[in-house]
Symmetry: C2
Subunit: 478 residues, 2 copies
């Protein structure tokens, strides 16, 4: 039987972006398909990337006073039905449990598509006084939505995520929280994932079911399409009224709480792939790369080389880096290609001539740049190069985002630009849902968000030519 | 409306152990009940204990070369049916999904009760050569079993756990792995949770559905009943044959892999409560206590006291301890009772007179012992006292375990001892399932395990008086 252990070719990115994506997720060993449609296995490498994201976010959450909890997987139909807009949004896409063992259930239970209703039921139990507020809870779990068409990471029936759910004494506190968590997501995306984002508010048509306000971070993928990478919702007191979540304030009056919810998911992994990947495979931001430095002994049969590679790796590990020495019996060229495919940010080659000179060769995954580095200060050099890889990936993505945002003033112009090259369009908008729908019908683009910086670029709606006081972004989306 | 913020009374442990347990889980704010029977909310304090257990175990798993993955939540009925013994064990207690949105599914999907079948499907895809072995995978997730009667942590329809699933080239490798992970569980229980355990092999009647061998750690609760705290299974090649998981060995022959699986769950939290708790509430082992030291300012209105308490807490935090300063407006006595209820291992009181003397007062939760400790070396003192609390809890539990193991030689004697005081019975056993069942019928006790140290205490089965070469433990169980 033939060995499968060779680095397989992937489709060039510009030839067929969708096929390139599928090739990368399979050949970098991120996922495996299963006999359950729309559900994949997250293989060790993908799960380790998710653990990296969790590590960063969980730290941010705890540093801002949030606590983790765990709510049930199943929601009784009557509980899901309590908040009208919410159930209308989710009921069409939930999976229903109807039998336990051989018994038919009296009431159907759905697998959580999101857990607002469960958090609300609990908050009604545990909140009674202003002293109980705010409640700042988060949950790491999987959720399930019965999607028709699915793609690994981008749109799965089951996905892993975190969902924050908070309750506050008043609107100001809840609005502040929703924006604080949006900022946390933007920091995760930009600083740690090297993925620049637009931050803003969603239109009513694009809001979360049951929210007063939905905020989002929107990233641009290599092909110019948008990925909604995280959302944060101000829920008002609608859920609190539906679930009777009340507290007595300092003056002993009964008030409803104001709530938020916010989440990011394994979808971010799809974003990392499509924002940074190239024709050789993944390019991972160092903050979440499971292996940050791959140390490769050159001519490892020569005396002292294998040991020198191990010693070097030990030193880098002790300096806090995630390091792997590749001592497999493959050729050096094969190893280079494999670690490139897996997006390892830095390759460190060490061979007999390097050792004689007291150096090793560092190769950046983002640019391919090589640098001979003295072994004496290798820890600092590696850390510096990893920072440079992050900055390089960010700059490249930022340049793409900025160069592919175009201003437009008429629907025909929007159509022409959208047809010529995908990207984001920036226009004014009158606020009318029918004009929003007209843009979608003409260009395929949905509204992305209304940015916080609302410096106008005109005064007329590109669709109806009516008075327009809103600045808004549009784009094709994953 | 009355404030609920007082430390409520709990039922004395010896008056009604079951009610004491229920009081503790509610009043220490570990869980909340939900409208889904058998599913509870893990509140922040319980979830933080679980995070502590995860941190320890995940470190052990990674240090021994295991990798985390994520498999789907749902299993198609046809996949569950592939291994005959396995499906017979689990089918009666699974929850079935029959509808996605408004559509009826062609094939029912069950919520995973455990994931052997999914791991096997994946292993069949990714294992083809001896170079691919061993595969050492673990998953952190929740599972669902349609239990009839439920109790928080001990028996829930949904619970959080980890499930390890490994594939090896041969029987020896798999058996070694199963025992290695049993040892990891024993180390978690004894060293970190201060909970002494018996290690051994289960009888055929008590084996996991589909296993060749099931190993377990068994702990004794305060009331003398047993808690099966973790299991590790050697699965043989039965699953590999059912799922066609084959590899070509170095000589190019096709072979089936040998597998293991092993798991511990949030049940361990029930074990911690029942092994260590007392009439004042929880007593948490320091390794998993969310708060290890509660710093309580005495007369905090006096100049310098509040600040001194904060400074002290900062110093302890910087030394790596988990610390909370309680600056709420409750009385000191109320605070003492609350932190006792929550099982905080060490209380640190600091008041005006202490500050004058340059000391603080440390109070151990396990014994109530007080020690005046100089502020100058408070970090070392606190760490030392936390180690002493662990040792104290362990010694107490160990003494109980040892004093409540009784040897017996006849079934009548077993009945009499079991009726007088619950504990573990140690006997010889002929190996016959009908004798095992006779013990259960007569005493209510099930077999716990056959310990690895098989030094005989006789030669006859207490039931049939036949030749008996097996040493075995029996006990009532949770």
């Amino acid at each position: 039987m033939a060995e499968k252990r060779f680095v397989e070719q992937i489709t060039p990115r510009d030839a067929d972006f969708a096929q390139w994506y599928t090739d990368v997720v399979k050949k970098a060993e991120l996922i495996d398909y299963t006999s359950v449609k729309g559900c994949v296995v997250l293989r060790p490498y993908a799960y380790a990337i998710w653990e990296g994201i969790q590590r960063i976010l969980d730290g941010m959450f705890k540093a801002t006073g949030h606590e983790n909890v765990y709510m049930p997987l199943l929601i009784p139909e009557s509980l899901l039905n309590k908040e009208k807009e919410h159930v209308e949004g989710f009921a069409p896409e939930v999976a229903w449990v109807t039998h336990g063992g051989s018994e038919r259930l009296e009431e159907r239970l759905c697998i959580r598509p999101t857990s607002e209703t469960l958090f609300c039921e609990h908050y009604a139990h545990v909140i009674s006084s202003w002293r109980d507020l705010p409640k700042l809870y988060n949950q790491w779990c999987s959720v399930f939505r019965w999607e028709k068409s699915t793609r690994p990471f981008l749109r799965s029936r089951e996905f892993l995520w975190q969902e924050g759910h908070t309750a506050h004494a008043d609107e100001a506190g809840a609005r502040e929280e929703a924006l604080r968590m949006l900022d946390a997501y933007a920091e995760l995306a930009e600083r740690h994932l090297a993925m620049p984002v637009l931050k803003g508010r969603k239109t009513d048509a694009e809001k979360f079911a049951g929210a007063v306000e939905t905020y989002a971070i929107e990233a641009m993928m290599h092909d110019g399409q948008a990925l909604q990478a995280g959302t944060s919702h101000y829920l008002g007191d609608g859920f609190a009224r539906a679930f009777s979540i009340q507290y007595s304030d300092a003056g002993n009056a009964q008030r409803h709480v104001h709530q938020t919810s916010w989440g990011v998911s394994t979808r971010l992994i799809g974003g990392i792939i499509m924002a940074h990947g190239d024709d050789s495979g993944l390019r991972l931001p160092p903050a979440i790369a499971p292996v940050q430095v791959a140390v490769i002994p050159i001519s490892p049969q020569k005396e002292g080389v294998a040991q020198a590679a191990r010693d070097l790796a030990d030193r880098l590990s002790r300096a806090g880096l995630r390091v792997k020495v590749d001592e497999s019996d493959q050729s050096a060229g094969w190893k280079f290609a494999e670690h490139e495919m897996r997006g390892v940010p830095l390759r460190c080659e060490v061979g007999p001539r390097d050792l004689e000179k007291g150096v090793c060769l560092m190769v950046r995954r983002d640019t391919g740049e090589k640098a001979e580095v003295p072994l004496s200060g290798v820890e600092g050099s590696a850390a510096g190069l990893l920072a440079a890889v992050r900055d390089g990936l960010y700059a490249e993505a930022k340049e793409r985002l900025e160069s592919r945002i175009r201003d437009a003033f008429h629907l025909d112009e929007m159509k022409a630009i959208a047809a010529a090259q995908p990207g984001f369009l920036r226009t004014m908008w009158c606020g009318d849902a029918s004009c929003e729908e007209a843009v979608r019908a003409a260009t395929g683009m949905k509204s992305r968000c209304m940015p916080f910086d609302q410096t106008p670029i005109g005064g007329r709606c590109p669709v109806c030519s009516g008075k327009a006081d809103r600045l808004i972004y549009w784009g094709l989306q994953y």
